[in-house]
Amino acid sequence: MKEIIVLSGKGGTGKTSIVASLAVLAQNMVLADCDVDAADLHLLLQPSVREKHDFQSGQTALIDGIKCTQCGLCIELCRFNAIKEFKVIPTFCEGCGFCYRVCPADAIIMQNNIAGQYFISDTRFGTLVHARLGIAQENSGKLVALVRQKARELAKEQKVEYIICDGSPGIGCPVISSLSGADLALLVTEPTLSGIHDLERVLGVCRYFNIPAMVCINKYDINEDNTCRIEDYCLAQQVKVVAKIPFDKAVTEAIMQGVPVVSYNNSKVSPQIKLLWQNIVTELKFKTELRK
């Protein structure tokens, strides 16, 4: 079983469109949407939800106004400025429990958060594990870890070969959580200066956690000079550029229709995405052989 995580650093480079298309091509796989903040993969796969679970994570302090003597110790000690006028501001509370432990009047309790929900769904292409973090909640990293764990369990059960994960933009906690222990990170970038800058940072994270990475340049013909720069950079970093996908309005049209672009029509991006998948499969097989 091989786990592939699709990341980008910068948002909107085409992660989700590519993941949905890989799902069509791979067939024998389980999907995981690790962008729990703003999950979109379900919009292309029309999943029917089979299971729905609450995601409990972390705690929030609550002050009992009757017991509280307004001594002010909690306000003084809270590093997150989460207590104002002897009331807890839930969006600022990080659930450390410091106030609860020091309150001389025992006026503070810690309550469990329901920080979101996760779903196990059936799609035409395979099982999808996805999630929804509650509005303005934290701990997205833990929810990502949970989504991946469920995806792995299902993949084992179904004896499938691949897990394909759609990642979130950025380089922080949900990204780190989706990377750890993955077999391959596919970095989708675009030939813009922002895209290049963000690629360098997300590749840095892959390096730090020792995850092999490959690069796919999406909309490569928007700026071919920048595409060359990315290729040179990748060459210098010894990272393979596995596909160059042209800009095509068919990608947006497919999103409008709610279907993966490779099953939308014979657009010029489809052969490139097919090539991308072949290259990923070859790379993973090669790595397995090497290990043997």
Binding site: A38, G172, T252
Partner: protein, 303 residues
Amino acid sequence: MLKRMLKLKNSVIDKMIISVASGKGGTGKTLVATSLALSLKDKYSVQMLDCDVEEPNDHIFFKPTITGSEDVNISIPKIDENKCTNCGKCAEVCAYHAIAVLPNTVLVFPNLCHGCGACAYLCPENAITEEDNQIGVVEYGQADKIDFVQGKLNVSEAMPTPVIKKVKEYVNDKCVSIIDVPPGTSCPVVESVTGSDFCLLVTEPTPFGLNDLTLAVETVKALGIPCGIVINRAGKDNDVIEDYCVKENLPVLLTIPFDIKIAKLYSRGITLVEGIPQWKENFIELFNLIQEQVYERNHSLKR
């Protein structure tokens, strides 16, 4: 028209915080934030704060002269092995499992520590002091007439929020401050948007754009901040967003058409108003509309 001009005259607000957010990544936050700042710089004092500390991009467009920087640290525990009795209290009180007490030693995992300080305060032996762990940096400087501030989270660090907090300490309440917000809807977004007078939500007319806009609107509403919509890459499918905005009573304040020329400018790190100067007027009009919205809201709050 006259009525509107009168209203505008009364509603000129030259000090406010406008955050530019989106939910979905890559919809054009940076494009809108940078062009808005450049369009206002001749008339107002303008400050640009890049709170997308995981992937800050505004500097690519502004090429600012950085004049100073400040480290962002969180306090992590340092254990004095001579005083420590391995009682286990610190591990017990740590909500983030950042401390493990073994028979002969105590391990601290800095990446998990949120710096709450509970362990140091509650250690019965006073064996814990706190030391700084650098997780990022805030840089500041000038770009033309614009005051520029950006945060950068160190690669491999997981917690952007303390860096965002530090960036926001630089907010100057005597000017128009424009905050570039990271994508998403969770804690980094909340931290960036909190305290704004107005939030611009940039979206695109696709089901992805709509789905993530819906989440972003919920987040901003939960914070009680008024918001307005910018539709980027607009085209024949604008109804996707416009219908939702009518239903939710959200104003669409600016529409930027899909244009390969704009995409190419962006790819070279050129802002929209520099590449196509006619756009400046549209961004000034956008600011006027924001002023009206903020004015009306302040007015209705007073009543």
